[in-house]
Amino acid sequence: MAEKKVFSKLGEVLAKGEFVLTGELEPEKTCDLSHLVQEAKEMAPYVVAANVTDSPLGIVTINSLAACAIVQRDAGLECIWQLTVRDVNKLGIAGMIMGAEALGIHNVLSLTGDHPNMGDMPESKPVFDLDSATLVKLVREMVDTGSINKKEIEHPPKLHVGGAANPNSDPMEAEALKIGRKAEAGAEFIQTQVVYDLDKTIEFLQAIQKYKVPVLLGLFPMKSYAIAKGFDMFVPGVDVPKDILAKWKGIKTDITDKKDQNEAYDQANYDFFKPFVTELKAKKLLAGVHCMAVHYPRIFPRLVEVIKG
């Protein structure tokens, strides 16, 4: 078997089998990315790379490829370009993949994308020319063969491509079989949706283990009670356990000093996620952790502790 080519730090650590920590950056509705760059700088010492979201929930923000280029240039943090198939057809996406190479972006996460109906431009045409599996296939075609539709690309793109998975999915088997399709298409890593249910997560990760794609577990450390409650209420299909909500509520009401409160939240996150990750690591179900706690960079030193050992 030919040695796997490595195009990025993420690709390198995955190839070495080192445990990976990735972060997430979510641009706001602004063309000024200085806050995003600042957040990227704060997480940079702790993560291998960070995802940059592509108008999540169909709410329009700056193009994720542009944001990746700025973050890499100004924060020196490697990016995982989130690319949905929602807004651009196959031809356009192929052009963007070439653009990514020209901008020095070497990781892409293939996503379906939330329907425009969900967001703030519902009148927009939903494209979905590709889907999350066939986008993986397209990237691999362009990277591996250096061509597209059998036409050579003079300087082909060099990207690692990953996909998403949802361990909370019900029916779970349908989701697991879909991951099989992504694996067949050539996905090099999987990042999961946020998880809180350990038993369900184990069942799902065991079901997709046969596909042999490294899995980064999606964690969402909660910065405050308001965030925990909001996440529970507004993210469909993900329930924050009641005991967590109660604990976070307790921190909010019982601790008045802001600094002490922050410390209590950070510790509570550590206390919940440490055994969770430890057990999954012991079962050899994880290649890493993907932390989706946006605007919460101070949690990263704690997360490094979570994944240690």
Binding site: D114, F128, A174, L177
Partner: protein, 221 residues
């Protein structure tokens, strides 16, 4: 199969025909009658409404199928004199009716503008009158043999070839506030029932748009 139509708001129809006085109504007695947008009753209702607004209804015909040029040639022949006296035609049919009328009047009455009083919704399956469902989009490249007879192009809100997507929660779709079934979960359940999850596991290529989407025709003689 029925082409499902709904009524356009009357104000919108008035806006479209406001510059004309003498109107001929063509009301389809097939699908539109079933959808209660056309037929005898639809024609009568529209004629009364238009007259109430000061229009002169020159002629009303209720052809069996407005979309069939042959039917329309025959029926228009019967009202040729009325057509000479018609400023505009209002059809209560699907969009195909408009095309068919323009086609059949091309020779003798090419200058009569044709307006439509309905919105064409989709090609529908009828559960009973008043309950019509889109289950096929007529994409020209039928996948049903591989998806347990459930069309992903139609039932998946994103027309994905490899679903379900992350917008599925407990078998429901994010589009429409989780009230409608996820098409890909329906396909999964059906294929599971048939013992054909091997088909569900298959990685499918994107739709090939090179042959479709533009003025499709089936011409075999």
């Amino acid at each position: 199969m029925t082409i499902i139509t709904t009524k356009k708001p009357f104000e919108e129809i008035l806006g479209a025909i406001k510059d004309f006085k003498k109107i001929t109504i063509v009301s389809c007695n097939s699908c539109a009658a079933m959808c209660q947008t056309g037929g005898e009753e639809g024609a009568k209702e529209m004629a009364e409404k238009l007259e109430g607004q000061g229009f002169s209804v020159v002629s009303v015909i209720v052809p069996e199928e407005v979309c069939d040029n042959r039917v329309m040639l025959k029926d228009f022949r019967k009202i040729d004199e009325d057509l000479n006296n018609t400023d505009a035609i209002l059809t209560l049919s699907c969009g195909l009716g408009v095309a068919s009328i323009i086609n059949t009047l091309e020779k003798n009455h090419p200058n009569i503008p044709v307006f439509i009083g309905t919105n064409t919704e989709f090609m529908g399956m009828t559960e009973r009158i008043g309950r019509f469902y889109m289950r096929c989009r007529g994409c020209g490249d039928c996948l049903l043999n591989e998806t347990g007879g459930i069309c992903p192009i139609t039932t998946c809100a994103k027309s994905l070839m490899n679903g379900p997507c992350g917008g599925m929660v407990k078998g429901k779709c994010e589009v429409g506030n989780y009230e409608r079934d996820c098409g890909w979960v329906l396909i999964y359940e059906r294929l599971k029932q048939l013992g054909r999850l091997d088909l569900f596991s298959k990685l499918r290529d994107p739709v090939d748009w090179s042959e479709s989407g533009h003025q499709r025709e089936v011409v075999w003689r």
